[in-house]
């Protein structure tokens, strides 16, 4: 893989120099594209949500039926009872268009990342945990290390611990596919092609509700992720994700 544009050089293969490749170009480019498209999805998702901040379970639901729950926010439609005496301006035109355009960018970039990452050994090398690491005691040890903030930055600098690996795998292979699936399940046109994919979720309103909760989980991931980056040296970490390189003397700083 050494010399390939998209390949990361395995740390062990390089003699100890002051600067080593931390992230391959594949990871860096797709990371920042998905950062932008995910933020756009988040903002537009919130904008769309204001037109109907009520959630239901099953196939159908509207202002005349009992909601599963209602978000305590004002709405951009006068027909929705919210308890607020004002109506927000409608944001669904651009909101929906940008949401779907960003979804395309996320899905295509994500597919490229997964396919190329599999081909390149990115998941095997960087994300699949070692068999010995998948044990309750090992994971517990990492959690206590985190809570006591005793893990040295040295340890973290060059690879991911088992908790990080499992979290990234969860986000990449469970949460993102689930948010895409539930998003598509809301489409009447897609439902006509894959009716089973809607039925298995419990109906189109269930799909919408799951879509919302998975988005919340992704936001939680984002917050913890950025929090951890801050704790482990924001500047150095962000530079590593831009340039791919992380300098040795800085990593302990």
């Amino acid at each position: 893989m050494a010399g390939s544009v998209w390949g990361a050089t395995p740390a062990s293969a390089v003699p100890a120099t002051t600067v080593r490749l931390r992230h391959s170009a594949l990871v860096r480019v797709t990371h920042w594209i998905i950062t932008c498209s995910f933020l756009a999805l988040l903002v537009t998702g919130g904008a769309i949500l204001t037109s109907h901040p009520r959630f239901y379970w099953g196939e159908t639901g509207n202002v005349l039926t009992t909601p599963l729950f209602t978000l305590p926010i004002p709405a951009s439609r006068a027909s929705v009872p919210t308890g607020y005496d004002y109506v927000l301006p409608d944001q669904n035109g651009w909101g929906r268009s940008l949401h779907f355009q960003s979804a395309w960018v996320t899905v295509l970039t994500g597919l490229f990342y997964v396919v190329y990452g599999l081909f390149q050994g990115h998941f095997r090398r960087n994300l699949f945990p070692a068999r010995t690491d998948i044990s309750g005691s090992r994971i517990f040890a990492v959690i206590t290390q985190h809570l006591r903030l005793t893990e040295t930055r040295e340890e973290r600098a060059w690879s991911y611990n088992v908790l990080q690996r499992l979290t990234y795998l969860l986000v990449i292979f469970i949460l993102f596919p689930l948010v895409i699936w539930t998003g598509l399940a809301m489409s009447p046109s897609m439902a006509s092609v894959f009716p089973g994919a809607v039925a298995i979720l419990g109906g189109q309103q269930s799909a919408r509700t799951i879509h919302f909760f998975v988005s919340i989980l992704l936001v939680l991931f984002l917050l913890v992720h950025v929090g951890m980056v801050c704790l482990s040296g924001f500047r150095n970490r962000v530079l590593a994700m831009i340039t791919g390189r992380m300098s040795q003397e800085m990593k302990g700083a």
Partner: protein
């Protein structure tokens, strides 16, 4: 130039050239097979085009989900429309006996059908969901004449590509491609849940396009125009929705 830069440069160049020509070929194919929506021009044109092309590729013959009678919503929500015109209420006073739908454009036999004529045509009944872009929905039984039956009666010309449809309400119009227009579930609907279509739900006539969202299902239908070019209607974006920032294609 040092290290791998030459190889890198060549491979990047080849990659970029392949990418650009790939996009050009895709665009040409999309145009040829009618996969470019009329509102493909703006900032969100790439997204609208990808969505329309991908969904058309998958859905040309797919059927909207139909539900059991027991799943019909006990509380369907009609949504609000602006105040209805004087003209509408005059028809309503006469129980819509003189309500007509004209069919013109690229057809061999332009025609105008009264409500009672439409009610005497072969009818289709289906229990489908109406989903609004806002997120809410309901299931109802819709009864009407398949649009394809009307289009057969007037004999659309081979170059037909879209059907433009209008409400009696000013500036309320939309259009669908022939895949949706000829789809067996696209109905000129005159009844709902066993009785005449209520005014709040679009009565006397509403076009039901169940594979698209609620806003494509225009209420108070008065005119159908078959065309090969949407440029001549409104601002040329295919319907009133894109003029207000909403996508022309509403399959999602």
């Amino acid at each position: 130039m040092t290290g791998i830069s030459r190889r890198k440069l060549i491979s990047t160049g080849v990659g970029a050239a392949a990418g650009v020509s790939g996009v050009a070929v895709a665009a040409r194919l999309a145009r040829r097979y009618g996969l470019i929506p009329p509102d493909s021009g703006g900032l969100y044109g790439p997204g609208e085009t990808l969505t329309y092309a991908a969904q058309r590729f998958l859905t040309r013959h797919s059927m909207a989900r139909e539900f059991a009678r027991s799943q019909i919503s006990k509380q369907p929500f009609p949504d609000e429309v602006g105040p209805l015109s004087e003209k509408f209420w005059r028809f309503e006073e006469r129980q819509f006996v003189d309500w007509r739908v004209t069919v013109d454009g690229l057809v061999a036999r332009p025609a105008s059908f009264s409500l009672s004529e439409l009610r005497s045509f072969p009818r289709r009944s289906q229990i489908t969901q109406l989903a609004c872009e806002e997120g809410w929905s309901y299931i109802a039984e819709w009864i009407g004449v398949p649009l394809s039956h009307i289009l057969n009666l007037v004999a659309t010309l081979p170059q037909a590509r879209y059907v433009v449809y209008r409400s009696i309400q000013p500036d309320w119009w939309d259009s669908i491609d022939m895949a949706d227009a000829l789809h067996p579930q696209t109905l000129v609907t005159h009844a709902m849940n066993g009785s005449d279509l209520p005014v709040a739900f679009g009565g006397p006539l509403r076009l039901r396009v169940p594979r698209q969202l609620g806003y494509k299902n225009i209420k108070y239908l008065t005119q159908l125009t078959v065309t090969d070019n949407l440029k001549q209607f409104g601002k040329g974006l295919g319907s009133a929705s894109p003029e207000g920032g909403y996508a022309w294609y509403a399959g999602i």
